[in-house]
């Protein structure tokens, strides 16, 4: 069941001194199913944050429709079931971590002992149990990100929207936030997160979509997209002279190892036989599958080529 749908959403925003309008979203349509982790991917400037702001009611779409929990647009009832972590979260520096969570809890009508307990639980969940009495102005970027995740969960949301949750974090911070996203899914919530860090999306997402220059390039389950199809085989051998394997183009040499890229399994079989016959030793045979990054780069390049102006005979000097 879809809990979030974009239908041909368009949005232009004014830029520059003359406030000229620039199209940011050019008819975006997508749908997010209940219980999944949905990766909203795209390069910087693709329009991901604009789309999220339209979804939250921070921006008003020029055209199209957004459906949230079956309601038209981000109504108050829909926002009651929503959690949101902004990109590069910046919270009120005059508030302590606990005060901030209490503030956001009160916006949902929570109060008293139940609110205090919820804040304790969330501070523990995000690894800040002893930092609740510190001013958020003293928090590091990673701590702010974790506090941001905590405030996004204050109402036990059905849908959590995370805008670039891993952006600017060190590897440890990224791993922690990744763990938090997985725990959110385990609680039964749907996660919609935007990112341009593809390894994170590949590790977390059930489905992804790719937004390039305001247009949705694809939307598919990650398994369908990458699948089990082997793109090529990377093989390596050792103990052979440089020219011992005629008919095979070496890809790289590292230490005593020679690396080759082969197209398919029969070719790998023939290569293994050739190595053995030449008196060498097979060091590695590894199938290489398409990564999300390969897909992403190919799609962005294709978009760039499509947008490039056509060269006509009259243009040529």
């Amino acid at each position: 069941m879809s809990i979030l749908r974009f239908h041909n959403v368009e949005k232009s925003l004014p830029f520059g001194f003359w406030l000229r309008k620039r199209e940011i979203l050019k008819g975006v349509s997508l749908s997010v199913e209940q219980g999944e982790i949905y990766g909203f991917l795209g390069p910087n400037g693709a329009g991901k944050t604009t789309a999220i702001k339209c979804l939250l009611g921070l921006l008003y779409p020029d055209a199209g429709e957004i459906e949230l929990f079956g309601e038209s647009g981000p109504t108050l009832a829909a926002r009651r079931r929503l959690g949101y972590l902004p990109e590069r979260p910046y919270f009120y520096p005059h508030l302590k971590g606990r005060e901030l969570l209490e503030y956001f809890g009160r916006l949902f009508g929570m109060r008293g002992a139940a609110l205090r307990k919820k804040c304790d639980d969330l501070l523990g969940l995000v690894g800040l149990p002893d930092d609740g009495e510190k001013l958020t102005g003293q928090y590091s970027k990673g701590m702010l990100q974790r506090l941001g995740v905590a405030q996004a969960l204050i109402n036990d949301p059905d849908l959590v929207i995370l805008d670039e949750p891993m952006s600017g974090l060190d590897p440890i911070g990224r791993r922690e936030v990744k763990g938090l996203i997985e725990s959110v899914k385990e609680r039964g919530a749907t996660v919609f997160f935007s990112s341009h860090i593809l390894s994170d999306a590949e590790a977390l997402c059930d489905r992804v979509c790719l937004l390039v220059d305001g247009r949705l390039r694809m939307e598919a389950p990650l398994d369908d997209l990458l699948g089990e199809r082997v793109e090529y085989w990377e093989v390596a051998c050792e103990g052979l002279a440089v020219d011992a394997l005629s008919g095979y183009q070496r890809h790289a040499v590292q230490g005593g190892l020679s690396f080759y890229r082969l197209a398919d399994e029969p070719e790998v079989d023939r290569w293994v036989d050739a190595v053995r016959q030449a008196g060498g030793r097979v060091y590695r045979v590894a199938p290489q599958r398409m990564t999300l990054e390969d897909y992403f780069v190919a799609a962005v390049q294709a978009e760039g080529e499509a947008d490039a102006p056509e060269t006509t005979a009259s243009d040529t000097p």
């Binding site: 009611g57 921070l58 949101y84 910046y90 009120y92 005059h94 916006l107």
Partner: protein, 256 residues
């Protein structure tokens, strides 16, 4: 809804009281009131009048300064610093955000005016003055005045950066103390059209001189109870109108 409005007001209150600028303004107000005792030495026989007059003026001036300098940032800063995103993504209508911010700042101003008044009334009492009810009335009227100034600051803060908002709000405040002269002008001007235009300007701009009864207090002239009621009704109506304008501007604004 009330819980959310209270939360926004409380956050605004906390932000203002934890900001150094409030303490600085408060300190200057106290210093200016205290300096009125020095001024009073120069005016033999009128010491109490000087202390009363300068004290009331200082209190009204610094309360207005706080209303302007905190008010102009109320909405703009939230948008600029992106703190508003997480707030409006929650079940908080935009009008409630504006109203919550307004009441938060009014709570700050009420506390500041009360503290300044305690100091000021202590000073008047120390100078041997009796404490007429109208002195308290004058302090209450300055609260009514800043309620209008705060609402005007919020209107400008909902669409302009702080410097422009400060200039515009200060401009409205200054003009607001001169608009009372327009009523006399309407009576004297021969052209009916010009009279209508001036009348329109008079009703659009606030008449802040209504809230200034310093002369009556200093010279111990009577002020009727109905005057305070009228001033309260005027302040409440003008504030409500300004907040409505702020909400209308902010309601459909794209938060980039």
């Amino acid at each position: 809804m009330i819980g959310a409005a209270y939360a926004i007001a409380l956050n605004t209150f906390r932000e203002a009281v934890r900001d150094r600028i409030l303490a600085v303004f408060f300190l200057f107000a106290i210093l200016m009131m205290a300096s009125s005792t020095i001024l009073s030495w120069l005016t033999v026989g009128s010491e109490l009048k000087i202390v009363t007059d300068v004290g009331l003026a200082a209190e009204a001036f610094f309360a207005t300064l706080i209303a302007i300098f905190v008010g102009i940032n109320l909405v703009y800063k939230e948008v600029e610093k992106r703190t508003i995103y997480a707030v409006l993504a929650k079940p908080v209508p935009r009008w409630l955000f504006i109203v919550g911010k307004y009441f938060g700042l009014m709570a700050v101003l009420s506390v500041v005016i009360t503290l300044m008044s305690i100091f000021y009334l202590g000073l008047v009492w120390w100078k041997g003055g009796v404490l007429p009810l109208h002195l308290v009335g004058a302090l209450m009227l300055s609260l009514f005045e800043v309620s209008i100034v705060t609402a005007v600051a919020i209107v400008f803060s909902s669409f302009t950066p702080p410097i422009e908002a400060a200039i515009l709000t200060a401009g409205v405040w200054a003009i607001g103390h001169l608009t009372w002269g327009l009523t006399g002008l309407i009576e004297r001007i021969p052209s009916a059209t010009a009279g209508t235009v001036i009348g329109l300007i008079y009703y659009v701009l606030p008449d802040l001189q209504t809230f200034n009864i310093r002369a009556q207090v200093v010279h111990e002239l009577p002020v009727s109870a109905s005057y305070y009621v009228d001033a309260f009704v005027y302040a409440a109506a003008y504030t409500a109108a300004m907040l409505t304008v702020a909400v209308l501007i902010f309601r459909r604004r794209d938060l980039k």
